[in-house]
């Protein structure tokens, strides 16, 4: 089985976002980057599929030189091959998807895994876009993937419950938390990843269809009040919730 995973390189979740001088993007100075957390889950799932069905796992990332760090981490986790689709420009999800789809069309994997969303722009688009571009099925926010021959039965999250979804391969799956616990790269894996090659190719993405015209911080919340230190504060809390917030 050939499994491909698309992974993105995003600011660390600890990052306190500062708006850059262009007022359209973030100030990247001092920001640490990492593999998007849902993409780690996707890589883990791919490795488990390889363990079960044999074959190979290829990871792809579209972006600048820096994306190699995230590709390197996937290699350390144990993937067989890493490809950087090189592109230094800022793109929207549609454009990123066109670049990935072109490469994936040639690769023709049985399974393509994505994270359910990148935790930078939180678009939740790229995976489903790639599926539509390749004309193959997709199942979003999966917490279980059970492959039996060419048929796949998934559990997918919906509001307040789960759906069982059936589909056929080749297909795209978007990993949600709960699908698995991603492994930490072993020391041996990290050492081995240092000498594994990362294939580089120029990406040829289409033009973005969504453009950012302005970025700003959300309005700061006014510091609230401390209304007490024990249960004697409860009546006052109820009064505030009733009179001021009007929520009860």
């Amino acid at each position: 089985m050939k499994v491909a995973v698309c992974i993105n390189h995003v600011p660390d979740t600890e990052t306190k976002i500062k708006v850059g001088s262009d007022n359209k993007s973030i100030d990247r100075t001092g920001v640490n980057f990492m593999m998007s957390p849902y993409d780690e889950i996707a890589v883990e799932e791919a490795l488990r599929m390889r363990d079960k069905f044999k074959g190979e796992v290829v990871v792809l990332s579209l972006g600048g030189e820096k994306h190699k760090e995230t590709l390197r981490k996937a290699l350390a986790m144990g993937v067989d091959k890493a490809v950087l689709l090189k592109d230094e420009a800022e793109r929207d999800s549609f454009a990123v998807a066109t670049g990935l789809a072109a490469e994936l069309r040639a690769l023709a994997p049985d399974v393509i895994l994505f994270g359910k969303q990148s935790i930078d722009f939180d678009d939740a688009q790229v995976g489903t876009c790639v599926a539509e571009m390749l004309g193959i099925p997709s199942v979003g926010v999966v917490v279980k993937i059970d492959i039996q021959d060419k048929t796949v039965v998934c559990q997918r999250e919906i509001e307040g419950g789960h759906e069982t979804v059936q589909t056929v391969l080749p297909a795209v799956f978007l990993a949600q938390k709960g699908l698995n616990e991603p492994r930490y790269p072993s020391l041996k894996g990290i050492m081995a990843a240092k000498s594994k090659p990362i294939e580089e190719k120029p990406a040829a993405p289409a033009e973005s269809r969504v453009i950012t015209v302005a970025m700003r911080k959300p309005p700061a919340k006014a510091t609230g009040k401390i209304i007490g230190t024990d249960k004697t504060a409860v009546p006052e809390l109820l009064r505030l919730l009733h009179d001021e917030a009007k929520v009860i």
């Binding site: 708006v19 678009d123 509001e159 938390k177 950012t212 911080k217 230190t229 249960k231 917030a245």
Partner: protein
């Protein structure tokens, strides 16, 4: 010209987020002097159509087909795109629900449209649409423009108001031709936990962290949630410890929520947690540590023991609400 709003329903009921979507579509349609059309897709769902006029639809289009009894994303996306083309829709609005997010990218590509996800505002400026959306889990906001002639937007639940008016809509049936290939991906079973609402849809969330000390003590939060008709949420620390299910996690790698009231119990307020809930309208924090970062964003804080305060809050609320 029309703005088309996709309407999601479950168990014979239209979802609140879809009423919000229709009302938002109407507001934009009025500003553009366009028509607001709502689209309902499913099997045996024609009776739902009449509920949409009061939320702003002037026409309701119904695709009612036994083949659409269960959700099938390829067939649904085809139906939405077909109707959008027929109606010459200049924009398609969907709720940013799990279903909406599953369909929107496919609908957008079929219409050669750009898609702005999870919008919290859509304004008309000089005849063009400018959408506002949170990025970096709400740590920043961006205004975006979609450059294609047709535009697709998903709207975050609980943000737009579903104002009800006295409008009346005409109802039209539309038939769409499907192929067997449109059903290769299909839902075969749905399990919905009855009782408490989901965190993304709830108006009130009672959320617990490591300060709850163990899974058994979440019964205290469930009791409070039940009095309030609230959802139960959790920090990642307690989800990772296996005390609560994944789908309750609030934060940057969990759910982003915008309820009217968020009650944080024994939660420190790490950046990743705050990212997911800071857009709540009112935040109550109960925490032993006066320096816990959660107090920086809480409207009302009690520096104290959850085991002292939460049961008392439940009792007094019950009395106050006559339950």
């Amino acid at each position: 010209m029309a703005i088309l709003a996709f309407v999601e329903h479950r168990d014979g009921k239209i979802k609140k987020s879809s009423f919000e979507t229709v009302r938002a579509a109407r507001t934009v349609a009025d500003a553009l002097k366009a028509e607001c059309c709502a689209l309902v897709i499913g099997s045996g769902i024609s009776s739902l159509a009449k509920e949409l006029g009061p939320y702003g639809a002037s026409r309701v289009l119904v695709v009612d087909d036994p083949a659409l009894a269960a959700h099938a994303n390829l067939a649904f996306a085809k139906a939405i795109a077909t109707v959008a083309v027929q109606q010459k829709a200049q924009a398609v609005f969907l709720p940013a629900s799990q279903m909406g997010k599953d369909l929107a990218p496919r609908v957008a590509l079929k219409l050669q449209a750009g898609l702005a996800s999870d919008c919290v505002g859509i304004n008309v400026e000089n005849g063009d649409l400018v959408a506002t959306r949170p990025v970096y889990a709400g740590k920043a906001l961006v205004d975006v423009r979609v450059t294609t002639p047709v535009k697709v937007f998903t709207l975050r639940p609980n943000v737009f108001t579903a104002t009800q008016g006295s409008g009346d809509a005409s109802i039209e049936t539309v038939s769409v031709t499907f192929d067997p290939a449109d059903f290769v991906t299909a839902v075969t079973d749905v399990k919905v936990a009855t009782g408490r609402p989901d965190v993304t849809e709830a108006d009130i969330i009672v959320s617990g962290g490591r300060g709850m000390k163990g899974p058994e003590h979440f019964a205290l939060l469930e009791a409070l949630a039940d009095v309030l008709g609230a959802a139960v949420g959790a920090s990642r620390a307690v989800v990772d410890a296996g005390w609560r299910p994944h789908d309750e996690q609030v934060g940057q790698t969990g759910k982003t929520v915008s309820p009217t009231l968020y009650v944080a119990c024994g939660i420190s307020g790490a950046v990743q947690h705050i990212a997911g809930m800071s857009s709540s309208k009112y935040i109550v924090a109960i925490n032993k540590d006066k320096d816990a970062p959660i107090f920086q964003i809480a409207d009302y804080g009690i520096v104290g023991d959850v085991f002292d305060i939460v049961p008392e809050l439940t009792v007094q609320l019950k009395q106050a609400l006559g339950k």
